[in-house]
């Protein structure tokens, strides 16, 4: 009798366990990611994930309030995602379900999302909307290139950033240095403004997270090489780029604090705003921090100088921010209405004014606030100058982030410490990029 009870208990336990496994397994059925979406009625609720949540929350709340006022039958649920983790949040939702209808998508991770079939192509929708012909062609090209699917666009560009050379006008004046409008002036000023004993430095270099992207900005701007690929080989290790890299990293410890070795952008900006440092190379995004720290009259931002006087300026394509429409959306009509509204002249201008970046809507380029923010105006002029050469970085490579960040940033620190040469660094980076490009081409 006792044995029977034991057997029954075992059987019950086994059935219960099997049921748990079965329920768990059936739960894996609907991933909710690719496909399965619907145009919907154009009314009801949509969810929007902000990829720079927190910092941009107030401006998005304004835009959403305006949108809901004009479209009373659509409710937008705003979800702020911290920028540092947005990619993992998207990846989890793609794998596990629960993607939003609309999301902020940067070109740095656009290819990854396109490869996972999470985003709806938006080229045709743009053509049939009020946005037709009103989006910056440079940014549209960056979005096309980053998507890696030919001429198709997988996000509507909303803004772009650009590498900017920030300098302290008060320190330059005191030291009698010329503004860094050429590379010779830049290196001269870096030395002139340095007095390590007094803890004063001419420049702060990015040695930690994001160091390689910034180094590429500096290399191509100095070398004047205007394309990332020559055939199937990258130009990263071109002798001119290697020479420029050598010169750039040569500033470390000579004209920069030693602690720069671990600088990510936050530490680098903090170094600049808290200490006596003459110059900083960062994008337009830190403008508000500089103004808050020094006031408008003591800091200036200019585009990176051309390789030689009279030469065209060479800039590296900075990530373009945009809005993506997700394939899994059950209400694509309403979601598109929201994207169209957010990228419209008035809203795009408002957003970029708050962010201090370059608007994608060309109608916004003539707005009054741009002429008041000198660095944005200068960046926009250089970007829209037909002579400017834009080096398109291969954001479309699935391995781009790994190669340019996880794999190369530790090497960049070795380079700063003098453990490897600029050529060794550039050759290794080029080797990885060439392999990734070959693999990508094979998969096309």
């Amino acid at each position: 009798m006792r044995a029977t009870i034991h057997r029954n208990r075992r059987t019950t336990a086994a059935v219960a366990l099997a049921a748990v496994f079965a329920l768990t397994a059936t739960a894996c059925g609907d991933d909710g990611s690719a496909g399965g979406g619907d145009e919907g009625s154009g009314k009801g609720e949509i969810t929007f994930w902000d990829n720079n949540g927190g910092v941009r929350t107030p401006v998005w709340e304004k835009i959403i309030a305006e949108f809901e006022k004009k479209n009373p039958d659509i409710d937008v649920t705003y979800v702020p995602i911290p920028i540092t983790d947005v990619q993992s949040k998207y990846d989890t939702a793609i794998a596990g379900g629960g993607l939003p209808d609309v999301g902020g998508v940067g070109t740095a991770y656009l290819a990854n999302m396109v490869a996972q079939d999470a985003l709806e192509p938006v080229g045709d929708r743009i053509e049939g909307s009020a946005l037709k012909g009103k989006l910056s062609e440079q940014m549209a090209e960056s979005v096309r290139s980053a998507g890696g699917r030919g001429d198709e666009m997988y996000s509507v560009p909303t803004s772009a950033n650009q590498g900017t050379l920030w300098y302290r006008t008060d320190l330059f004046e005191a030291a009698g240095a010329e503004p860094p409008t050429s590379w010779d002036r830049f290196y001269e000023a870096a030395e002139k403004l340095t007095d390590a004993k007094k803890n004063e430095f001419g420049f702060t270099i990015r040695g930690g997270a994001g160091s390689v992207a910034q180094a590429l900005d500096m290399m191509y701007a100095q070398s004047g090489i205007d394309t990332f690929w020559k055939g199937d080989r990258t130009t990263v290790n071109d002798p001119k780029n290697v020479e420029a890299l050598e010169k750039y990293v040569g500033l470390y410890k000579k004209a920069t604090p030693e602690a720069d070795l671990n600088n990510d952008f936050a530490k680098m900006v903090a170094q600049f705003t808290q200490g006596d440092i003459g110059m900083l190379q960062h994008n337009l995004g830190s403008y508000t921090d500089h103004v808050k720290a020094f006031g408008k009259d003591k800091v200036e931002g200019i585009p990176l100088p051309p390789s030689a006087e009279g030469s065209p300026r060479t800039i590296v394509s900075n990530p373009v921010d945009g809005l993506g429409l997700f394939k899994s959306s059950k209400n694509k009509t309403a979601a598109w209405k929201f994207i169209e509204f957010a990228a419209s002249h008035e809203m795009n201008s408002l957003w970029n004014q708050e962010a201090g970046s370059i608007p994608a809507n060309t109608e916004a380029s003539g707005d009054a606030w741009i002429s008041e923010v000198e660095p944005v105006k200068a960046a926009m002029e250089s970007l829209n100058d037909p002579g400017t050469k834009v080096v398109q970085l291969p954001y479309y490579l699935p391995d781009w982030n790994n190669i340019s960040k996880a794999d190369s940033e530790p090497d960049f620190q070795k380079l700063l410490l003098g453990e490897i040469s600029a050529k060794q660094f550039a050759d290794k980076l080029a080797g990885a990029l060439n392999d990734a490009q070959a693999e990508w081409k094979q998969q096309q």
């Binding site: 927190g54 649920t77 993992s88 596990g96 952008f265 900006v269 960062h282």
Partner: protein, 303 residues
Amino acid sequence: MTAALAETGDRRTAPPAGTPVTPQAPRRRRRTRAFDEVPRWQIYLPLGLYLLFTLVPFYWMLLFALRPAGSTSLVPWPVTFEHFEKVWNERSFGVFFQNSMLVGLATLVTTTVIALSGGYALARFDFRVKNAFMLALLCSQFIPGALMLVPLFEIFRNLRMINSLESVIIAETVFQLPLSIILISGFIKNVPVSLEEAAWVDGCSRLRAFRAVVLPLLRPGLIAVGSFAFVHSWNHFLFALMFLSEQDKQTIPVGLNTLIGADSVDLGALAAGGVIAAVPVVIVFAFIQKWLITGFSAGAVKG
């Protein structure tokens, strides 16, 4: 025999009443003398340096939190609370704080209660797969939370629990339990079974004996496990980020991360947020450190 045991320092058997316990005293004196022979600076200098090393980050955090934006002064003067007002009111840290407190306390309670039952079973019962179970508990510590993220996300989504604090509480509890069970079982093993047996003889049920006899003796262990569970869930970022979407459901660690933008950081607000995040943890440790140290040493000796 008693004298011999006393000389060897074995305290298992108490000396008979009236026996002078002389062998213990000289040893204590020797230790004190050795301590006294060390110049004070050799003790206080390393301690002072260590303290300085530990406190400098807190100093920077308080400095940035309390001085006005744009100031480069090394002293937070004039003191301003503008950053605290900003994060608490404008950046919803008041809501995040409430949510974090709820998640932390709920995780503390659920983890402690379940770990008590599991730990008791491991300490008091012999069953066939006990060693394998212990091994499984230990091995589960090697699985990073990030690896379980997608399956957990799917399970919670199918249970319609995404965007609810309960999902975070369950996930936190599940990940805290293995270590908590192992710790609690160590504490319970330290309580002699004879105490429980005496209670049974007096007519107590197993549960009553556990509540009346064992539980009061586990206080240091419970505090150690509970505080670990609270502090860990208070600081944990990943589950809250992935399982919660709406702003009014977010917790402090996620809120802190939203203060770091793509290209700009409001250092004053970030520091003020850091102070708000650190205060409960500091208070918890200030109140429980006495029991915490007792708890760890008790668990460590015979666990």
